[in-house]
């Protein structure tokens, strides 16, 4: 028989916030993520780093079930995402949303309470109180009634964060929260994330800037369609790994994906 028994890194473990096995995703027959395997522990700040088009956002979306993988699985605290939605909070990219939408900052944060409310209930006084608390945590309580289109970039990002905070989740997935924000907001967000970590939460952040990654995160995933390296930041940030992640040569692997695309079928 062909291969020996695969040594699993760990079994499905309800104490591990995020376990990903063999996740492969393709967009229109072009592979975007390849056999991703990860175990992320509780109480950590994990950076997801890689060049453009490396599949970082796709990884988040696949974890959240927003894209259908070709193969592989994701487990959150041992169960599927559908069973654990309350424990996962998502902060999408700021530009994925039309900020001209007629809603106030408080209403935006209140959206974070919808998931737990169920179909016909409205957010009430409790929810509003929690929302205001979240706004205070990001120092945006003074802007509660402002229309979201009139916020600066940094303020918008904080509002998005407050929406995630109000969910009181255990796993936070954030897509480029530091993109195009001012330095003060960046520091404020970082402080917030660190306090989340000290509460034992797991925060996964898609980060665009290679240089600041070692300062911000304790663990890093170097991603370029496949996981090039994962581990503690000091160990992972080696020249070789970075070269493989950002190398950019058209390797035969890329040509393989081209061939696949030309044949018109997925991996």
């Amino acid at each position: 028989m062909a291969v020996e028994v695969d040594q699993e890194v760990s079994r499905l473990d309800p104490s591990i916030p995020l376990q990903i096995r063999d996740l492969t995703v393709a967009y229109q027959q072009r592979p975007v993520l390849w056999e991703v395997n990860l175990d992320l522990p509780a109480g950590s700040l994990v950076g997801l780093v890689g060049p453009n088009g490396a599949g970082k956002s796709t990884l988040l979306r696949a974890i959240l079930g927003l894209v259908e993988p070709i193969s592989g699985e994701v487990r959150v605290f041992g169960k599927t995402l559908a069973e654990q939605r309350g424990r996962v909070a998502y902060v999408p990219q700021r530009e994925s949303v039309d900020w001209d939408f007629p809603t106030s900052v408080l209403d935006l944060v209140l959206m974070g309470t919808y998931g737990k409310l169920g179909w016909f209930r409205r957010p009430g006084a409790t929810e509003r109180a929690r929302a205001m608390e979240a706004l205070r945590a990001v120092e945006m309580d003074a802007y509660a009634d402002r229309q979201i289109g009139r916020l600066s970039g940094g303020q918008q990002q904080r509002a998005f964060l407050a929406r995630a905070l109000v969910q009181q989740s255990d796993l936070y997935l954030m897509d480029e929260p530091f993109a195009a924000v001012d330095a003060a907001t960046e520091m404020a967000i970082m402080q917030l994330l660190r306090s989340l970590r000290s509460q034992g939460k797991t925060v996964v952040v898609v980060h665009h800037d290679l240089h600041t990654a070692p300062d911000y995160f304790d663990r890093v995933v170097l991603l370029n369609m496949r996981v090039v390296a994962y581990g503690k930041v000091e160990q992972v940030f080696q020249k070789e790994n970075l070269q493989k992640t950002y190398g950019g040569r058209l390797t035969v692997l890329d040509e393989l994906s081209e061939a696949m695309r030309r044949r018109g079928v997925g991996p």
């Binding site: 959240l64 079930g65 927003l66 949303v97 809603t103 919808y114 409205r122 229309q147 289109g149």
Partner: protein, 451 residues
């Protein structure tokens, strides 16, 4: 009354005066249908799906014709069910065409709805003998006929169309209120909604169904082609006038109702006063809605053209005035440092206007002999702020790479008008409290409370 009925492509409208028992119903029906459409229409426009309103309204045509034919008359329920199915089918087919066929979205929509509409037209013409449907009336509506379809006593005196319209309105309002938060979050941030398990796809299909049912239920009154106007135009106007979702819905409803009333009046009443023939109420309703939209575009206090223009003008005036204030200050500064022989340049004629404005604000006062102007105490304070801001910026920008020294003045010139105390304090910190700017001019102190 008899003159209002007749054959032809819908009936020729004669010149009759306004009769409340008649025209009142017409207006009410029009208003109810319009509001019923404006409510789901608001969400369509918010989700950038305005053209889906057009598509769905066209696509339900075969359903209407078939239901008419099959039920031999006006079986409302069959039609509504058929419409709901076709509405869902349109959205579903378009989605399929797009993903399966990898067809561009606009092309997919266009293919699906024109195909269905074409099928509907053929059916309509083919079945014209057994189906009491006139293409003109079907497409443009027959609002003026509404009061005729009524009984003679009690509740039945209220025309059928009114009941239908009221039911439609209540239905649309209810489902929107019930699913308010799901609609809201899926319209704003679909990915987030899905990640929270709030099923944005359900909201999408529910909306499509509602649009289809509204289109079908309204076609008798407003016509298949003009109901689309009510889906899109009142919400578009409302969005220019408010930034809160509940207000937008309310305003959209208001615009819809007003369009109905004024539209009918303009279509029938006004021409009859002018001894001219009337025209289609439904068409006029949409035209009036457009006029209201145009009004909103011009006069919206937030970002109407008028408001924008006024803001630009105000801004320009403010900059002129502040520039002049600062210039006077600098002149005084120069003359203090290097006393000139007695010859003050006469003010430029243009600046006399600005000076008068400044005088009205109490920032300058005229000296009669020799004729010139000087700053009042508050004028001096404001001028100091401006010049301080300017020179602080120059100092700050000078220490930053990327700004060439000859551009410092330009930049500071632009920035000084928007620099408040907080920013000045920060600039001062950042420049270590230097006393002079890169050109050697002294940076004025912050004007104190003394006057």
């Amino acid at each position: 009354m008899a003159e209002r009925m007749g054959g032809g492509v819908c009936f020729p409208l004669s010149t009759l005066p306004w009769i409340w028992e008649y025209d009142g119903w017409v207006v009410l029906a029009g208003a109810l249908f319009a509001i019923a459409a404006a409510l789901p229409g608001t969400f369509l426009v918010l989700r950038r799906m305005s053209l889906a309103a057009d598509a769905i309204s066209h696509a339900v045509l075969p359903g209407i014709v078939l239901a008419y034919w099959w039920s031999g008359g006006r079986q409302a329920i069959a039609m509504l069910l058929g419409a709901a199915c076709l509405g869902l089918a349109t959205i579903w087919l378009t989605d399929r065409a797009r993903s399966l066929g990898k067809v561009d979205e606009g092309a997919a929509t266009g293919t699906v709805f024109t195909g269905l509409f074409a099928a509907g037209l053929i059916l309509m013409v083919q079945l014209a003998d057994s189906v009491d449907l006139d293409p003109g009336c079907l497409l443009f509506g027959d609002l003026e006929m509404v009061p005729i379809d009524a009984g003679s006593s009690g509740w039945r005196r209220v025309p059928t169309a009114i009941w239908i319209a009221a039911a439609l309105l209540v239905a649309n309002l209810s489902w929107i209120v019930l699913f308010w938060k799901e609609l809201k979050v899926s319209s704003f941030d679909e990915a987030y909604a899905e990640s929270q398990g709030l099923a944005p796809a359900v909201a999408q299909y529910a909306l499509a169904t509602s649009v289809a049912i509204t289109a079908v239920a309204s076609f008798q009154a407003v016509g298949n082609l003009l109901v689309v106007g009510m889906f899109i135009i009142p919400p578009a106007a409302a969005m220019l006038l408010s930034h809160r979702l509940p207000s937008i819905l309310l305003i959209a409803a208001g615009v819809a109702a007003v369009s109905a009333a004024v539209g009918h009046w303009l279509a029938i009443e006004l021409p009859s006063r002018l001894q001219l023939p009337g025209t289609s109420t439904a068409g006029m309703m949409v035209v009036v809605a457009c006029l209201i939209l145009a009004g909103a575009i011009l006069l919206s206090p937030i970002d109407g053209w008028l408001a924008r223009w006024l803001r630009t003008v105000r801004h320009r005036r403010k900059v002129e005035e502040e520039d002049l204030l600062a210039r006077i200050y600098r002149q005084q500064e120069t003359s203090r440092r290097r006393p000139q022989p007695h010859s003050t340049p006469s003010p430029h004629p243009l600046s006399t206007r600005i000076l008068r404005r400044l005088e009205r604000q109490g920032l300058v006062e005229p000296l009669l002999d020799p004729p010139q102007w000087q700053l009042t105490a508050s004028g001096m304070a404001r001028a100091k702020e401006l010049v301080r801001s300017h020179r602080l910026w120059e100092t700050f920008l000078d220490t930053h790479p990327g700004v060439s020294p000859d551009r410092l003045h330009e930049r500071a010139e632009a920035l000084e008008h928007f620099t408040d105390l907080k920013i000045r304090r920060k600039l001062e910190e950042q420049t270590d409290g230097r006393a002079r700017d890169p050109h050697g001019s002294p940076i004025p102190e912050e004007p104190g409370p003394e006057r």
